[in-house]
């Protein structure tokens, strides 16, 4: 077997300082090699040891053969954001080996498969060569699953060196292979072989290890797309027309997976929903809007390019006042862009999407738990205000694995808004008769901008109306009358104005004597949270406001006014959240500082800290 290679940089003392439960480990593999199971096994095992973890998949837009990375952040403090540097790299891909070696911190650890050619050796890192092929040869693994199972050998080796308990690895594998005993045996056999080899052959020279904690008890490990789908299911979603697109696909797929479990009648087997894969996003949104108009709780999920295609129908839904929810799991644009990388670049587009004067309610979840919550709330808002609601998630939140408090059951009953069935119509007609009026689909009876709607299937004569994207009056009749148009459009903006009262308020966190404010939204939350702690250690106290909905509520300008200046932190080039704040609060624009970056990677606390420290020094 290959001897363990250890090269130590004597000037660095990091090797002598133990690092327990506080580092980042990256697995580098080739996509299509089945490494996801191996990497998730490590993630789940750490979670089961009670250590806070998050798992990020950095993957190519490809099926087989290109580099892919899975990064696990182990953080006893509970920080979930991305780190710029790795402490441990497990290298299984020749092509990216050198690149990864450069990501390592000084004193870091490089595990590499010994069949890889390592042309240059970084002298300040500990290196362990792993005889994957030799160990695998000794096991009886069928040829067709060889590459998959071989990944489990590195799981065993890494587990032994980092002191991950074999018992929790076993539990994680049992979860993965639920009842498939043969698959479990084969995979665990490989883990065990790697583990045993390492125990006998590796002399531990690095300072990184894990130790059991009690910090994940009562927590769950989930991705935002599954959370959003589950939230929608508890919100009563009944129809989704959808079309596959990375990174949104796993959201409708989670609907398909969990709906039969949760929303089929136990006795009759009847489903209270229908999910339809459409031919494109033009059709996906058309179906979903048709369903929303028909009185179904309707939602779809897409990403940037799909949202572009949905823009026209969403404009119609805004004007014709059709409830519908669209999840935009953002990726890097413009154009096809970086389809497998994360961004917050659709904010301005989503808010004003469509030609003419349009404005959409936007919800921005900042955690998987909020993805669940906004899943059901979005459907309520859409029906309450009879308008499209766009939920802006992103790849980082949607497709990665996050430690989270468990999902909470909705604390409010389902809200269907002002919908009239036959009986309701009868009393409505009487009510209006007293006012000398007749019911009209767009008649603002309550003076709150939200009219009463009926849906097909209501057989009472006089309940029907003709919906259209063309100009219409209060009775849904075609109209080109200038005053009718102006009043109709003004009423639509009144609805959004009043929606502010009920939309999720921003989350504010304060520090003593903070003069600096930070505004952010969505998945940048974990990095910002960590950066604030780092800044505080450097003597920079900050207050923080996380926007969760648009249009902005009054808390936002109050927060800006209360601070000397406010950094707006986001993952895009142009500072879109800052743009919107500037537009809405022009007087406050001079207090805002743009802090945005887009390179495909989630922001890190390190970068945010460095930026703010530098700017504060200037």
């Amino acid at each position: 077997m290959t001897p363990v290679q250890v090269v130590q940089d004597s000037t660095d003392d990091s090797l002598s300082t133990p690092h327990v439960n506080d580092f980042c480990i990256t697995f580098s593999t080739v996509n299509g090699s089945g490494s996801a199971t191996a990497n998730l096994t490590v993630l789940r095992a750490l979670f089961k040891m009670g250590i806070p973890v998050s798992g990020r998949n950095i993957f190519p837009s490809n099926i087989k053969g290109l580099p892919t990375w899975f990064t696990i952040r182990v953080s006893k403090e509970g920080y979930l954001g991305r780190m710029d540097k790795d402490a441990v790299v497990v290298a299984m891909n020749q092509k990216t080996l050198l690149e990864e070696a450069d990501w390592l911190v000084c004193g870091g650890v490089l595990f590499y498969a010994d069949h890889l050619n390592l042309p240059r050796i970084r002298e300040d890192v500990v290196q362990y060569a792993m005889p994957i092929k030799a160990i695998s040869a000794a096991l009886e693994i069928p040829r067709q699953v060889k590459t998959y199972v071989e990944n489990m050998i590195y799981v065993g080796i890494v587990a032994q060196v980092l002191e991950i308990d074999l018992v929790v690895i076993k539990e994680a594998l049992e979860y993965q292979f639920k009842g498939k005993q043969a698959a479990f045996d084969m995979n665990f056999g490989a883990v065990k072989a790697g583990f045993d080899w390492a125990a006998e052959n590796i002399e531990k020279k690095d300072p990184y290890r894990v130790a059991p904690m009690n910090a994940t008890k009562g927590y769950i490990l989930a991705d935002g797309n599954t959370a959003g789908a589950l939230g929608s299911i508890y919100g009563g979603v009944q129809f989704s027309g959808w079309y596959p697109i990375t990174p949104a696909t796993s959201l409708p797929e989670a609907l398909i997976e969990y709906l039969p479990l949760l929303r089929k009648d136990e006795e009759t087997g009847e489903a209270s929903y229908a999910i339809v894969q459409a031919e494109d996003e033009l059709s996906a949104i058309g179906m979903t809007i048709g369903a929303g108009w028909g009185g179904l709780r309707a939602m779809t999920a897409t990403s940037g390019p799909g949202l572009s295609l949905m823009a026209e129908y969403l404009g119609l839904a805004y004007y014709a006042e059709v409830p519908v929810v669209v999840w935009d799991v953002q990726r890097v644009g413009p154009s096809t862009g970086l389809p497998t990388r994360s961004a917050q670049g659709d904010l301005t587009f989503a808010h004003f999407m469509g030609h003419g004067d349009t404005e959409f309610i936007i919800l921005i979840p900042g955690s998987v738990k909020e993805c669940f919550e906004f899943g059901w709330r979005a459907l309520d808002y859409a029906e309450e205000f009879q308008t499209p609601v766009i939920v802006l998630s992103d790849l980082d939140l949607g497709m990665n694995y996050w430690l989270s408090k468990p999902f909470e059951y909705p604390d409010e009953p389902i809200k269907r808004g002002k919908i009239l069935w036959e009986k309701d119509m009868e009393s409505m007609e009487e009510r209006l008769k007293a006012l000398g009026k007749e019911w009209g689909r767009y008649l603002d009876i309550d003076n709150d901008g939200v009219p009463y709607r009926t849906v097909p299937g209501n057989r009472r004569i006089g309940s029907s109306y003709f919906a259209r994207g063309t100009g219409h009056d209060e009775y849904a009749r075609y109209s080109e009358d200038p005053e009718t148009w102006r009043k109709g459009l003004d009423r639509l903006s009144l609805k959004l104005e009043l929606a502010k009262e009920v939309l999720p308020k921003p989350v504010v966190e304060k520090m003593e004597r903070a003069e600096i404010g930070i505004i952010t939204s969505g998945s940048t939350y974990p990095a910002v949270e960590e950066a604030r702690d780092l800044l505080a250690k450097k003597g920079i106290a900050t207050d923080y406001l996380r926007i969760r909905a648009l249009p902005f509520t009054d808390e936002v300008p109050q927060f800006i006014r209360a601070h000397d200046h406010t950094y707006v932190i986001e993952t895009n080039r142009d500072g879109q959240l800052k743009q919107l704040l500037t537009l809405e609060f022009p007087d406050l624009a001079r207090y805002l500082r743009k802090l945005s970056k887009i390179d495909g990677m989630p922001l890190s606390a390190g970068w945010i800290t460095e930026q703010i420290v530098t700017k504060e020094r200037d």
């Binding site: 033009l282 809007i289 057989r459 003709f466």
Partner: protein, 346 residues
């Protein structure tokens, strides 16, 4: 006298034709689409369909303005250009007892909406899909549509350099289960086809040659009244039978009459004219369409019918109750299920 008494005639529901009317048409006098609206009214009245049981859909264009001119008592949704089928799909799932009537045009379905047209066919959504086909864009004043014949000359457009799209052929290729062609100049046949289409449990495509009297009614051009009148060749004489038990075939010469039962017990009675065309034979349908094209004939009638395919609804285990009437407790899983869900999150 006869006409007057017809107008007040009540159907089995006690409704007169008046109850099926829409707003006054704003289309050009003589437009084929007005014939279409009138025949939809007549078909629904004669079939004793409650207007409240119908939902109308349309895209954009002259054709798509049409739904306001019939069945005012029905719900309707005038959607986006070429995207009527998707809108109808979602809306009809809300209450599957509703009868969906979609009105589109050749611009709406054979150009911008070609994708949605073909995909709704392959899903077999129960929908009467009428394409008012005049070979021209009327609402934008006279551009060629995708169904306009090659070398057609129109004012300000010059010569059409491209080969046309045959709507029935496209529907066939997309596996539509009901494909028909009608001519606005032959309202009686159109009405019978509409009745059969309404009863069909799947997507029923009717390509209605509906001349545009303003921008495209040239003598001898396809899609004109004069050409249609001269070249229309009904492939059969067709009548819709509300109850298939009532069919009496003895009057007609044996072998010349074919009865095709629809899924709900109604039937179409087809009296063969000349040839031996069988509309349940997919292969024959293709040949006949190709033949019509080559010989420059307006063949009308029921070109293809397949009552075996299941409709789109049937692949979902849906309850008898309309989805949009399910109470909240059917929509939100009980609280105790969430613990199980949280347990799965690892």
């Amino acid at each position: 006298m006869a006409t007057a008494s017809k107008e007040v005639k009540e159907n089995a529901l006690g409704l007169t034709k008046e109850d099926y009317q829409g707003a006054p048409s704003t289309l050009c006098p003589g437009c084929g689409h007005n014939v279409l609206a009138a025949q939809i009214i007549a078909a629904c009245h004669e079939l004793n369909i409650l207007p409240e049981d119908v939902v109308k859909f349309s895209g954009i264009g002259c054709s798509s303005k049409c739904p306001t001119y019939f069945l005012s008592r029905s719900f309707g949704f005038n959607g986006l250009h070429g995207r009527m089928p998707s809108l109808a799909t979602g809306a009809l799932f809300a209450d599957r007892s509703m009868i969906g009537i979609g009105l589109s045009g050749d611009g709406d379905s054979a150009s911008i909406g070609m994708g949605q047209f073909k995909h709704v066919c392959r899903r077999n959504l129960p929908l009467v899909y009428i394409i008012a086909n005049n070979g021209v864009y009327g609402l934008t004043k006279g551009q060629f549509s995708a169904t306009a014949e090659k070398d057609l000359e129109l004012k300000r457009q010059g010569k059409n350099p491209y080969l046309p799209v045959d709507i029935c052929m496209e529907a066939m290729a997309a596996n539509a289960t009901f494909v028909a062609r009608a001519f606005a100049g032959d309202p009686k046949q159109l009405r019978e086809l509409l009745k059969a289409a309404i009863k069909h449990k799947g997507t029923a495509v009717i390509d209605v040659i509906s001349p545009c009297v303003t921008f495209h009614n040239l003598e001898n051009s396809l899609h004109s009244y004069s050409w249609g009148k001269e070249n229309e060749r009904p492939i059969h004489e067709l009548s819709f039978i509300p109850d298939s038990r009532d069919i009496v075939i003895e009057e007609v010469e044996e072998g010349k009459v074919k009865e095709i039962k629809l899924q709900d017990g109604t039937a179409i009675l087809i009296k063969k004219l000349g040839g031996d065309y069988d509309p349940t034979n997919r292969f024959q349908a293709f040949i006949m369409l190709e033949d019509a094209e080559v010989n420059n004939l307006l063949l009308t009638g029921l070109i293809y019918l397949d009552t075996e395919q299941q409709s789109m609804y049937e692949s979902f285990d849906l309850p008898r109750t309309a989805l949009n009437r399910l109470p909240n407790e059917k929509l939100r899983p009980p609280e105790e299920t969430l613990a199980m869900v949280n347990k799965l999150m690892l």
